[in-house]
Chain length 522, copies 2
């Protein structure tokens, strides 16, 4: 292990790309990336164990506040698993799914190629990601050093010595506070054969795929990850069977929205088996997976396949900290923290995926920010009990607040404002329509999306917003903020300035009803 001291060097983004690539590709290159300010004699205010979204944003905030921080990260880059083998590849794959659905829908029309019966390469897209992923890594390393002035040690495992002491690459660092930001990993699958070659999760898919999968894919799971990857596999033209223990997409709160998303998946050919329990993954003569056996409500089945994807969620990486420091975990293995992000051990904080669900970027980054604020003496309180959320099918599905069913259970007078409207024509109506659903709107109107506002007719406030389509995800961040600031009413929506054709038609639809003292469905 050698120390590569970069403290006094300027490394551009291109240079970082080359270095990270080398460090990742060459196991014998064991350089520890050393960006420590030895001229600063202050004690560290915080050492962040882990330089993913949580640790990096926590560090940036603490540093900006004038504190001293150090990130210790086992990978040679900052940013964590998300851009390496988790949420960023899923975005590339979901874009491919959306584009392939478009190409298949218009197969042979306009400029689209004939997609009939065509299976497109899965490996090529995975390879594209793998070849390009160091670029975002490089930006994070660059930005963190040159623009955010952070201290970090990369490509070396940190060892927890105690609440104030961490060792890395043979050197001990002491700190006022220790912040655990060690992330999560794919939940393993406890059935025979789950470790066979050809069985992947979101990490190993990116790391290990070295062959072109055949024409049948089995996906285990029915939550976000399973649906996102299943939609991608299906879009490549492969028969895709999703084995869901319970019901798929339970996370989507509005029933009609969930049905729209699932119906479109099925229409694209995804086979969803509810109540399915995998009993065995069977290997063929070469040891590669060849068959999946499962029990469904209608009996035992088996599917021949050379490609199985496990989309079973994530587990927090909390074991080491629990053992070495004794931080308390909940029943699911997540670190227990208070609203100041403090664990049960004095001076030890935990942030990000270690805290369990939702393992989302906003929580990772904000929990890091809040830990740092508290460490720097601020009186803060962070809970994440309500937030906007999304997932990808072949579409973007976005929501916040209550689904219609739950709203009706908890409120006396609920109305909905939606598109397409409730008529005898069902979905076969050319609205909604907007950027990236115009071809659908004009040629396959039922594919052009679904959207709904759930409104309390008494207070006239939006209780929930739900969208399937494209281009609304970004909006939900700001719309939710308006909702969080004391609620957003139909009347306030009516006053906003829509950018026609807007992906959410919420503003104009609300305006059509806002004149009425008694709100009605639309």
């Amino acid at each position: 292990m050698t120390t590569w001291d970069i403290r006094d060097s300027y490394l551009g983004i291109g240079q970082w790309e080359r270095e990270i690539e080398h460090l990742l590709d060459h196991a014998d290159d064991d350089r520890v990336v050393w960006n420590v300010d030895d001229t600063d004699t202050r004690e560290y205010d915080a050492i962040f164990l882990g330089g993913g979204a949580a640790g990096r944003f926590g560090s940036a905030f603490l540093r900006a506040r004038g504190g001293r921080q150090l990130i210790i990260e086992r990978w040679p880059f900052l940013g964590g698993s998300c851009p390496h083998n988790a949420c960023v590849p899923h975005h590339l794959f979901s874009e491919v799914a959306a584009e392939l659905m478009l190409a298949r829908t218009f197969s042979g029309r306009f400029w689209f190629p004939d997609m009939d019966g065509r299976i497109t390469s899965l490996k090529e897209i995975v390879d594209l990601f793998r070849a390009g992923r160091v670029a975002p890594h490089a930006i994070m390393n660059f930005q963190s050093k040159e623009q955010l002035d952070l201290e970090y040690v990369l490509n070396a495992e940190g060892t927890i010595v105690g609440p104030h002491t961490v060792e890395v690459a043979g050197r001990r660092f002491t700190t006022r506070k220790l912040v655990l930001a060690m992330g999560s990993r794919p939940r393993p699958f406890d059935v025979p054969g789950a470790d066979l070659p050809g069985v992947f999760d979101y990490e190993t898919l990116v790391e290990d795929l070295d062959y072109e999968p055949g024409d049948t894919v089995v996906v285990v799971g029915g939550s976000k990850t399973a649906v996102e990857y299943g939609s991608f596999f299906s879009a490549t033209g492969r028969r895709t069977i999703m084995l869901v223990r319970d019901r798929p997409l339970k996370i989507v709160p509005d029933g009609e929205t969930r049905r729209y998303a699932l119906d479109r998946m099925r229409e694209q050919g995804v086979e969803i088996v509810e109540g399915a329990e995998v009993t065995e993954v069977v290997g063929g003569p070469t040891g590669h997976v060849s068959t999946v056996r499962y029990l469904a409500p209608d009996g035992a089945h088996s599917v021949d396949t050379d490609f199985v994807f496990l989309g079973l969620g994530e587990l927090p990486n909390t074991e080491v900290a629990a053992e070495t420091l004794g931080i308390k975990l909940d029943a699911k293995g997540s670190a227990i923290v208070n609203p100041q992000m403090q664990t049960s051990v004095p001076d030890v904080y935990a942030i990000g995926d270690m805290l369990g669900a939702p393992m989302e970027m906003f929580k990772a980054r904000k929990s890091g920010m809040y830990a740092s604020r508290h460490i720097m003496g601020e009186d803060v309180h962070y809970v994440y009990d309500e937030y906007p959320d999304f997932l990808h099918t072949h579409y973007e599905v976005t929501w916040f607040g209550l689904g219609e069913e739950q709203a009706r259970e908890t409120h006396d007078a609920v109305i909905t404002i939606k598109m397409p409207p409730d008529t005898e024509h069902g979905l076969d109506v050319a609205l909604p329509a907007t950027d990236r659903t115009m071809l659908y709107a004009f040629a396959k109107p039922h594919m052009s999306g679904f959207q709904k506002l759930v409104v309390d007719a008494t207070t006239r406030r939006v209780l929930g917003a739900h969208h399937v389509g494209y281009g609304a995800k970004d909006a939900f961040q700001y719309l939710f903020e308006l909702h969080r600031r004391g609620g957003i009413t139909v009347d306030q929506l009516a006053e906003m300035d829509e950018l026609f054709l807007n992906p959410t038609h919420f503003i104009q639809l609300s305006r059509l009803r806002a004149g009425a003292a008694d709100l009605r469905d639309l």
Copy 2:
């Protein structure tokens, strides 16, 4: 002229589609669509002359308030020119431009066809629009009658008799207030040959195109419409020459954002000639356009082409009202109104495009709503001096507030937060990246978009926000509302919940700086 009385009938969306199609296609079908409630003996509170966005939304609001209204519209459908031959087709064409840019960028790779040298059909896309446009019309007629309970007379020209009297299809209607909502039309071009076959504007393109244009297109103009259509024509593979009298896209307030958008257009092959003045459009032997002659700063030129597009903006349809009622117009021919939408003639209001720039949907609909509120006795005040805005190149370009240049002129301490960052690597950085720019980010990073926040470092408030990419247009509606409510600060952005990978990276980028007492560029 016969009266088709539909007052007591239920017409479904499908039925409306068939009827509208017939009325549009058969000049001899002169039925007047008659939806008048003769059982209501009250005087009309307002008659809306024109049932486009302004008249329809104004009517809906007035009716919801309990007032009585009547729309008189010369077309057999409500919704106006936008879904018929103006802004809706442009959205379809812009989606095609975006998809074709993607297909050309990845020509022959993955599932994309070989696009090298390939010219795709322009007429096919126009035909797709033309065949499908009655569907939205049908929804508007249906919704307005069955869901919004509006009264209307369609497919007949209304005649202004006086401020309280309108005649249509031989019947006189009297009203307490008259609301003019007569829209706008393409600005004509005053050069020899501008009326030749083969010279189109946004209306005639949709109405009249009956041949496949050749391999060269000339676009006259450099504003929104010209750029939107020019990008579409170019994306089909045709040589596209834009003749711009001044500079293109002056409407985009931030210089760097404007350059990014224009540079990508040029990269896609659009030729933009600044300071160009068309001198003559020349017809060939058949009388069809064959050549365009123009003067540029470097001298006289001519281009052979069979297709010319005039993107010169719009003129308000105010002449008739000025003549018959004497309403005052400004120097540009727009109706002059006060913040209650009242013209210079008592009891006569004007709304929508008749008021001049910006001829945008939000203003049309909101001016209608405000006129109705005032007519129904509310004390209202509507000005539209600040609003979010957008246009399409091959991308979506969205903005509000000040560009960096103007911010620096008017504020002491301005910082910017942007992506890609200012480094020696320029645009060749894999961020921003998000839904629908992931393939670019991984293979052609300079194409993956540009975004910038302009911030007053003293108040920490956002002064302007600028975005080129996809999926941010909807967000700007709500982000602008936060801005309008007393300003949105970097610190408030840092508190929001991003939906990663969000099209606007504003939240997370702000969070990286928000910890600092002294804001700096990022």
